[in-house]
Symmetry: C2
Subunit: 202 residues, 2 copies
Amino acid sequence: MTEQARTRNPWGRGDRLRAEILDAASGLVDRLGGADAITIRGVARAAGIAPASIYQHFADRTALISGLVEHDSKRLLAVMALADDATADSDPGDRLRAQLTAYAKFVLENPGHYRLMLTLQEHRRQVSSRAVVNSIAAALERCQQAGWKLRLPVDRAAVMIFVAAHGCVALFHAEPEAGELKRALVFLDELLGLVLERNSRA
Amino acid sequence: MTEQARTRNPWGRGDRLRAEILDAASGLVDRLGGADAITIRGVARAAGIAPASIYQHFADRTALISGLVEHDSKRLLAVMALADDATADSDPGDRLRAQLTAYAKFVLENPGHYRLMLTLQEHRRQVSSRAVVNSIAAALERCQQAGWKLRLPVDRAAVMIFVAAHGCVALFHAEPEAGELKRALVFLDELLGLVLERNSRA
DNA sequence: TGTACATCAGTGAACGCGCGTTCACTGATGTAC
DNA sequence: TGTACATCAGTGAACGCGCGTTCACTGATGTAC
């Protein structure tokens, strides 16, 4: 771990440091979880810069945390959208499952980030959980059109699935276990089995 | 808020301060949530004692937090057991509902405490969530014996219900809303509707 | 082409603060003889 | 009944630490004339 001096960013590219700061903060959250893991001095240390340098890109600690949450929310939604696209011409049930799997995978692999996203009181009414529910609802709608029967109205079913899936991963965060992802996927299958009533064959 | 001097506990009753300290810590968690709300100095301030006094009852900050978690876990289980007892000669479905209601009510009314109970990494493998699942499983077993049909095996159904219920209240913690309890109870009814398939009449 | 100046990326040192913890203590209440 | 001492509940002052934030700064790169 040689104390190698950072080469400063070229003229006009000072904004690059913003990304480096977010990366460093991200790493801290990975390793330590929770919002308290993000300290100005800690992030500066991790990024190899002076604490004061952070203030050129974030007004204060709160702004730094908000920036990270926004960053992470985008990542989660991107991962889910990717899973959706990748299965564009599959059975709608499989598409739903793919999205949920992507969700569970992201959340289990990024426990600190997910906790941060939901914990942050300053970010009430945040976009992400509603966006996730909407995404699930869209997938359910497609299932319905393909002839599946739901045991709840689409919007309630979407909430049910999101809430239960959230509960599942949140509990694994609280009590880590071996083979979390597998267990989570089993749980999600049971959940879909309750919500969806197979009616026609794909 | 007069700075009235505390009268010290009588000889041989020094252990009373332990309870006062836990009460004070409890109040802080209520108002501020999270484990960071519990600081030695803050608790001492709230209890009206000197910071050093806490060390007569708790080895260090960690021990204090553990003590509080233990305290809270007992309270939650007591509340659920009470709901179960109070409905001892009702329909088993109602008994299950009563227990879940008690759970939701406690958790929604004590968000900081619940978060603390689950957050605490030092308390992995904690007793409480397994105890809650067992309690639900027992109630489900009674439903089954009364002629209800479950769409999942009893143990998986209990996990499903606990996990989904947890997800529900956890999300309300993250995004508080008006009429939380009512909404939570609607959700729990939908959940029971999915898991239980009515087969006979009570 | 030279030069004065503006703009940029980033820093070092200092501030005041609240924290966890330690330690020697104070003063009241019990106990042994 | 008196007295020396042990035990108890609880404290005040100090420690070292890491924190968020500020401020005047350094030195490189661009721009105006």
